[in-house]
Symmetry: C2
Subunit: 606 residues, 2 copies
């Protein structure tokens, strides 16, 4: 192909020739840039008139467009995609009506260290800058409270500062080159959502796409996790040695594995390697569930403070003389309502800092430290833990239930059903608080919103997870544990599975309303009721072919056993979508939820 000769046009300079070859529309450039990012294959959102000009360019790439029924659902799907891929979940919405509908999903992603890149279509740069035009009140935009004042086109962009790591408002095409790369880097560094606000007229403007070739983004997700020079290497080595020396000198050091280890590149592998090399007793937090192999001989259990741990767990944990807390997220839900005890002997290995005693070291990412410790560790000096002092039992209590299946039975059956490498997405609801009582097989992925707890998230998130599994060629099963009240929030997105040829195994736990709320207040009040739907008819409405779905309503334990036995091992795209409505008692919740509810907040940490 011969490039158009710019030299023939009077007034142009010869040096422009190379650049001209690489000129492409900004919209195309954005998608091509995203295509370079590790594990980004699908993009989520809902079209709107302020970003159609952007969407148009996606067809020039291999990226899949996954249209959602609404923007909140698309936001949740992008979050699910990000959690599974440990990379960007790209979300595209339109000005005002779209971006605001999705803001709860973005806020949840922020609260849970999930990497959504939210691209929002905006009015044209001309509308925002022309002295006459910018006075106009254009659709989707709230005018000022005072009707005599001009519109502020950034009114929505101003809302997101506390739920994103960074935002970029693009006002000319050349700005995109640095801003997009920087935004993506910030998202990976903080593992938090970032915003790109893009005026509608810019998508067709030409930009110099030369860096697509000269500076690939292939390694951006881990670039900042690599030690950059010998000075940093000395610094990290020194800190790694400081931590290791404490390990060598302790009598009974233990490791607590938490969710941030899941959020950075190969954090999970580095952590498992560290565990294997030290062979120390280790625990996992509520949000860290599935992060480490629960079949490792030194895995002790799920640590959720004195309040929510199984008997013996807390006692053993606090009897240790050194805790290495890796990838921590210290919050109410993750610490047994702050009853987890972290004494002076705790070393915190965070993405933002390393804390040893009362000393905080910035610029010491736990990924760098883990990698360094794995490489320099003297295994002979790592102490062997004494035997566990306190016996560990399980409070797998039988809670009274008027239904034939109670949650304790359900959890036992689930424990037997799940297989190595299954992916389990769990809705916010009572059953979530029973999962620390069951043992996950090795290689499992567990995805849930354990802290932000926005009900309705899991179903659309599982669409995103399913997309990600399909995109990456997973041979795993996708299982969704869903509640009736939460499913009512976002049910329409269940129709996406058929459309995307994803075949999850869905258990809808029907306990006749908001059971979690009933336990807190209003056991039998109407505000905790939901409308009774005929769940099994859902697929006829959503136009799922009869031969591609299996459904059953399950009331008896024998029916549950039979159903579980009938579900085959297969990949996320094979077989049929399975949907089981399981009838539970409306006041049946795991013991842990009762414990959590009966205890007021106790300040234990500082």
């Amino acid at each position: 192909m011969t490039p158009i000769s710019i030299e023939q046009i009077p007034g142009t300079v010869t040096t422009a020739t190379d650049a001209a070859v690489n000129m492409m529309p900004l919209g195309e450039y954005i998608f091509k840039r995203l295509e370079q990012v590790h594990n980004v294959r699908s993009v989520f959102g809902v079209p709107g008139d302020f970003q159609l000009s952007l969407l148009e360019h996606i067809y020039k790439t291999k990226l899949n467009w996954v249209g959602g029924c609404n923007e909140l659902n698309s936001g949740y799907a992008a979050d699910g995609y990000s959690r599974y891929t440990r990379s960007l979940g790209v979300l595209i919405t339109t000005y005002g009506v779209g971006e605001l509908s999705a803001i709860n999903a973005v806020s949840g992603a922020f609260a849970e260290y999930s990497k959504i890149l939210h691209i929002v279509g905006m009015p044209s740069t001309k509308v925002m800058t022309d002295e006459q035009l910018k006075k106009q009140h254009i659709h989707h935009l709230v005018p000022d409270l005072d009707s005599l004042k001009d519109s502020n086109h950034l009114v929505y962009a101003d809302m997101v500062d506390k739920v994103c790591c960074a935002k970029k408002i693009i006002m000319n095409q050349d700005q995109i080159l640095d801003d997009l790369d920087d935004l993506i880097l910030q998202i990976f560094k903080t593992s938090r959502p970032g915003y790109l606000f893009l005026p509608v007229d810019l998508s067709d403007e030409l930009v110099n796409a030369e860096r697509l070739h000269s500076q690939s983004l292939e390694h951006i997700h881990k670039s900042f996790l690599e030690i950059k020079d010998s000075e940093e290497d000395r610094h990290i080595t020194e800190l790694a040695n400081k931590v290791l020396e404490q390990v060598y000198n302790a009598k009974n050091p233990v490791i607590l594995a938490d969710v941030l280890a899941d959020r950075y590149a190969n954090g999970q592998e580095l952590l498992q390697e560290f565990i294997n090399k030290t062979n120390l007793h280790h625990y996992v937090t509520f949000m860290g569930k599935s992060l480490v192999s629960e079949y490792h001989p030194k895995f002790v259990g799920d640590y959720q403070g004195s309040l929510l741990s199984n008997p013996g767990i807390h006692e053993n944990f606090v009897s240790s003389d050194l805790v290495l807390y890796v990838g921590p997220y210290i919050n109410e839900m993750n610490t047994g309502k702050y009853t987890a005890e972290f004494k002076e002997n705790t070393i915190i290995l965070h993405a933002d800092y390393l804390k040893i005693g009362q000393t905080i070291y910035r610029d010491a990412h736990f990924i760098k430290l883990l990698a360094k410790m794995n490489s320099i560790m003297d295994q002979t000096r790592v102490p062997i833990n004494p035997l566990l002092q306190f016996p560990i039992t399980k409070k797998f209590a039988n809670i009274p239930s008027t239904a034939k299946i109670n949650q304790s039975t359900l959890l036992s059956k689930l424990e037997a059903f799940i297989q190595p490498n299954d992916v389990l997405v769990c809705e916010t609801g009572s059953v979530m608080f029973g999962l620390p009582d069951i043992k996950f097989p090795t290689g499992m992925r567990y995805i849930a919103q354990g802290f932000y707890l926005s009900i309705g998230m899991a179903l659309p998130a599982s669409v995103g997870v399913g997309c990600a599994m399909r995109d990456l060629g997973s041979s795993q099963r996708l299982i969704l544990l869903e509640g009736d009240g939460s499913a009512q929030m976002t049910i329409q997105e269940i129709s996406a599975f058929e459309h995307l040829k994803i075949k999850p195994i869905i258990f809808l736990l029907n306990n006749n309303g908001y059971t979690v709320e009933r336990i807190i207040k209003g056991e039998h009040q109407s505000y905790n009721d939901v409308k009774p739907w005929n769940w099994l008819n859902c697929f006829k409405f959503f136009n799922v072919q009869e031969d591609s779905v299996r459904t059953a309503k399950i009331v008896e334990v024998t029916e549950l056993t039979k159903a579980l036995n009938s579900i085959e091992t297969r990949s996320v795209t094979e077989g049929t979508l399975e949907f089981y409505e399981i009838i539970l008692d409306q006041l049946d919740v795991p013991w842990r939820f009762h414990a959590m509810n009966s205890n007021r907040l106790l300040p234990k940490m500082d």
Copy 2:
């Protein structure tokens, strides 16, 4: 009933006796106060752990709790309730996950002058003020980007400043007394949403409820619209005369009726009275549709500038030598993309100001001016309009359609179908832009989001409208014009009709995706597709009794005629829910939408 004698308790003072009798829990007080507000009978929302303690108190009042499937839907329903009742639409959500899910509905209400009172449950005052506790990251709350910083419990409250008229963060129980009344007053004064942030522990605290008896809120919705003293009376009379003198001295004065006249107390009646008394030619805007009787002999038509008005309308409008623009909302959609011409001879009667020529008078609410003008007008001095100079025709164009029913036919049939006093809720979508071409019968109410244009709003809004109609004992029919793409956003709320015993007549216009977007860009692109659902199966899923719903899929014109003829005159709570899926061509839109799309924004106003 003998009040408990406080005098018997040592240390109390006698003056406390009266107050003690009136002490009641803050939660109960809030609902009893709301109960006093004109037309407030139902309250919308979704329960959450931060407001269950509030909800508990609703059962001590006659207010209905209307639980939504999700918070966005409840927000839309509250908006619909407010539009129909011209009073508060009360929305209750929980911290973070709930309030953010609803923020797009609130933003839409702000953009369209709808009166949502949004009550948000928050963490307890102790959690927010105790030096130790406030460091904790509690569930539903996004921590700071820097993991070493404390939580900011007001992070969500900070987001709403530009989408509300006022917000009150209640930090002790006594504050509620003035703050609630003031907030409600602000909402009515601005006809905009207001926020009440309520910590979970305060609902059970006792407050002195004495003002429930001594200062009723019965008239709060119009209190500020009454002339308060002789000085104000002189001021308003002077301004009213100023306006009237201009009318008397004009040759061809006309009235343009707009949506704000619908938003304040008896604004519509005052406007119709003003029209009747002056007997001047008058027009209605896009958003003002149904505000004035279209069967009045001097009603000229729907004015949407030179771009979107039917032929002759704009020409007649601009030939006038004086325009009285009442209750104006000057925005892109309402002015034919700013092609409406308002010259020097325009008098603007707004809620915030009166504008005569270039002079702006604050403190001259159009309601006060209309009432005054109606009372002091010398009808003999009002000129009689000359005959209309330009013939008015209708561009009821037959747009090419591959479907057997096209939108032009549909609009004609609808025009014949709708009856006086029907309530029509219309979804944002192509058909909305055809409605200015049909004549509405007298007494009809038209409810649509003509400026903010958030698709998915109309269905849940019609639930709120239906509640309001039921609450106020309406004998009217409720009709919903819905689209397929928009219905997918919020479909679950359709199950509320059965639950609430509301029987709307629903026309689902199925044009196979986002037709409005297809016209703008991507006619056949996949991003404008939606998933194909079997709409008629929806009620089996949502558990609507077979004998309480009639459904049909309509492809042929004869089927449409037959269906429309079979629908009886009845009230909103009588008969069956009717649901007709009407198949349209995916590129068939009213001429007005093509005109709007082909024209760029033109700055015409200043």
